[in-house]
Symmetry: C2
Subunit: 500 residues, 2 copies
């Protein structure tokens, strides 16, 4: 093996992995967007075969030999190639510890579980979904122990989404958030609630669709490369590479705000993915480096930008054009107040910035306790409802608006939720840094996002997964990560809105 041949093989291998990724991702995306309802069995059959093929390709002797050869020739590799080899080897060494039949079985389980979850949610019937969720939790824990028998399996699960994070760090982080958020929420509860009636009424889907494309264009997405579809639960996915990106939203005819912020949130993910340097396409460095950094971008665009006064002023004329009847006599300020109303609520994705992290904490606590054997999956609805009462003071009317609301667990994404809260906090610290160089509010108000996007591209997006999340934070912040920025941001914002 010569180093030149090996390098060629390295890129060829990654092109293959990307193509399988494209196929698997598209079959899943199709299931969520377009496929007829009764076809989950057919997708499961194909996903099972293709993930087995991918597994065999990834773990073949030929692949392992190639990567180990390159790993031994580090000085002949570029920085990017070293990271590729590192990430691939890490992944393969982990995969090889999971028996292939169990791996394939799990992929099949996830397809069926996703289908069952959709139906269970529609019927608000947790029992229907429970046996699948039990298997998902059980398998996730079992796989974690296969890979790192000596590590806390929940820490392992967290690390899949945020390299290096531990429950210890998160416990402290969430404690800090709780200490900041709960008193603020209490003070707001004592004040008169603000008026958010501007968001409710009748907003035809086709007009909301126009709004979506306007927002996508406004925040700087390339519509030749980024598509929009509708799904039960909004998400973002790259198909094969960042050169074909899809976001989804969910429209509600009686409330345009839900979809508006889904589009800006998913749009933030898409900006990050599609901002990868062109030469990272068809490599494992393509796209974002961790879910925490990913959520920092999506929630930066959704909240820090999207729920700013400047953004509301920018978007308001478009709303007047699309919904002239509904917006008659309204103002941009009313929109700003409405989209920042802080109030305990049932649905995480529709929660305001302030209460959002409490939703995340509940899920984090539940996952931990299931992993620790302190809680059984079948007890989830009862415990979910109890915690919503404790943390947010509200009663959950049914499982559809409770434990069945999120798609993450049915998709096997256990350990993911903390990424959202981390993302919020990272984003607030990025903002402070960005403001040292840019007049962020003026940029937003002008509708020209190029300076903001250039800053994010320069510091974060273009690197793809070249750096670990902690490396990215260090490079951008030039200081340790500190959740105080986020608490300060929340205090400033809500003190003003609610005249606390």
């Amino acid at each position: 093996m010569t180093i030149e041949n090996a390098k060629n093989d390295l890129y060829a291998l990654q092109r293959k992995l990307a193509a399988y990724d494209h196929a698997l991702g598209l079959i899943t995306y199709d299931g969520a967007t377009t496929a007829p309802k009764g076809t989950a069995d057919n997708r499961a059959a194909s996903l099972s075969v293709l993930s087995e093929e991918l597994y065999r390709l990834s773990t073949s002797n030929e692949t392992v030999e190639l990567l180990e050869y390159l790993d031994g020739e580090k000085e002949a590799l570029t920085e990017k190639e070293r990271r590729m080899v590192f990430l691939l080897l890490k992944d393969i060494r982990e995969m090889k510890k999971i028996p292939i039949e169990e791996f394939v079985e799990f992929q099949e389980l996830l397809v069926t579980a996703d289908d069952v979850w959709h139906r269970a949610k529609e019927a608000s019937d947790f029992e229907m979904f429970c046996p699948y969720l039990e298997k998902i939790f059980e398998t996730t824990k079992r796989f974690a122990l296969y890979v790192e028998p000596d590590k806390d399996p929940y820490d392992y699960s967290l690390n899949k989404f945020e390299e290096g994070i531990t429950r210890k760090t998160l416990d402290e982080f969430f404690e800090k958030l709780r200490a900041g958020i709960v008193p603020l929420l209490k003070k707001i509860g004592e004040k008169e609630q603000v008026d958010d009636s501007i968001r409710f009424g009748f907003f035809p889907i086709e007009k909301q669709d126009e709004l979506s494309y306007y927002l996508m264009k406004t925040i700087g997405l390339d519509l030749e490369r980024v598509g929009l579809s509708t799904t039960e639960h909004p998400f973002t996915t790259s198909l094969g590479s960042h050169l074909d990106e899809r976001i989804t939203t969910h429209y509600f005819e009686n409330d345009f705000v839900c979809s508006m912020y889904s589009v800006v949130h998913e749009g933030g993910h898409a900006l990050y993915d599609t901002g990868s340097n062109r030469d990272l396409a068809y490599t494992v460095l393509d796209g974002g480096t961790s879910m925490g950094i990913h959520e920092s971008q999506s929630r930066f665009y959704e909240n820090i930008i999207g729920r700013s006064r400047a953004f509301c002023e920018l978007v308001f004329p478009k709303l007047c054009e699309l919904f002239p009847e509904q917006m008659k006599g309204r103002t941009a300020e009313e929109l700003y107040i409405a989209v920042n109303k802080a109030e305990p609520s049932l649905i995480r994705t529709e929660a305001d910035e302030l209460t959002y992290s409490l939703h995340v904490m509940i899920r984090y606590e539940l996952e931990k306790r299931i992993f620790d054997g302190e809680l059984e999956v079948k007890e989830l609805p009862k415990e979910w409802n109890r915690m919503y009462k404790e943390y947010l003071g509200i009663d959950v009317p049914d499982d559809k608006h409770g434990v069945l609301q999120d798609s993450h667990w049915s998709g096997g994404l256990i350990g993911y939720f903390p990424s959202y809260a981390l993302g919020n906090a990272y984003g607030a610290q990025f903002l402070a840094k960005m403001k040292e160089e840019l007049d962020v509010d003026s940029c937003i108000k002008s509708g020209d996002f190029s300076a903001i996007n250039s800053w994010n591209r320069e510091h974060i997006w273009r690197h793809g997964s070249l750096y670990s999340p902690s490396d990215i934070l260090e490079r951008v912040l030039e200081a340790p990560f500190n959740a105080d920025y986020y608490i300060d941001y929340l205090n400033n914002k809500y003190n003003e809105i609610y005249s606390l």
Copy 2:
């Protein structure tokens, strides 16, 4: 190798092939339906990798040994297994004669060509598409000669869509059609033209969409398994197996008839595919046996059923419900007359039953002459326009309404078009046979398609590709195929409509 293991491997192999088929088919379908416009390069990259993987799987020594072993143990195989082995071996022996790099390059070419064709059609610019089409024709011919150096390469191309057919047979068949159709069309031309104004007006897309689902349900499609999307050019595709079927249509706001018959046509394809016996799923016997038989079903539902007086009477009340303003004062009889107006026109897919075969003949003649070296691809627009003048007496205003109208060539489907004309003729003879057992008109009028569908399922659909097209014809007809049935059908229909 034991026979039992080998049989298991045979089914496992076919499940793999089906999964790749699913992936490749879905990436292509996504490109036509949902993908953002600028992403063809990304699809080309993945299709290239996956078709190479499929090629390697299909032609591996392991696969060939397995199939040759089974081929030598015919007496231990069921009828179905014998046919599986036969079809797989035939395919593989052909594939192995095509160098893999050329095969992969062709797949990439087709993705790009499809994208260019879409843009070229929109811009009505044949020159943009010409270099791609030249390569497609050149490669198709080259591949034909790799596989069967001693066979006429156009015969080989025809056989890919209709096993056993030759240009000699087709020349005679088309001559018979021409001799029947041209005088009939001439007689009609001398009569006063019928009124088809009922189809024109304003028909909102969402109402036409409702009509599509009504039609799909009416003809007996299982909406849990069959999906509908919109595309530039309507088509039908199975994804992985007949358990997930997709049809597409194209809506025109000013004319509901176009989409109405696209849906019924593609619905006929979907009925055939989804009518395969359940145990054929994930085998090469799944779905229709040839494009001629396939078109016999699609055009049976579109024309023989769909353009019958009984069907117009059945559908008319639904049209009145969906388009009350437009249908005010109209009758089912006016619909029947309008959808059977025979008149030379520019677009094949919108042509009436009578002139349709003339459109096909033009394409057949052009393909033959290009294969024979008598015509160059760059001369196609000029020759296309000349032949439309000669065969149909009309002037082609631009390439969009001329040589660029069909998606077949950009998709590499050279030799496909005759299937449509064969399908028309097969269908007319099937109808005569069906009428010996069923009162077809009463079935249609009642809106209950179960007897008609059962007949087709029993005789045709359930077999999938177990029998060759000629075997199917023989089994159904119990007599030789005879195009006179079609000519008689046309004469009866148009003599009555135009009082000839």
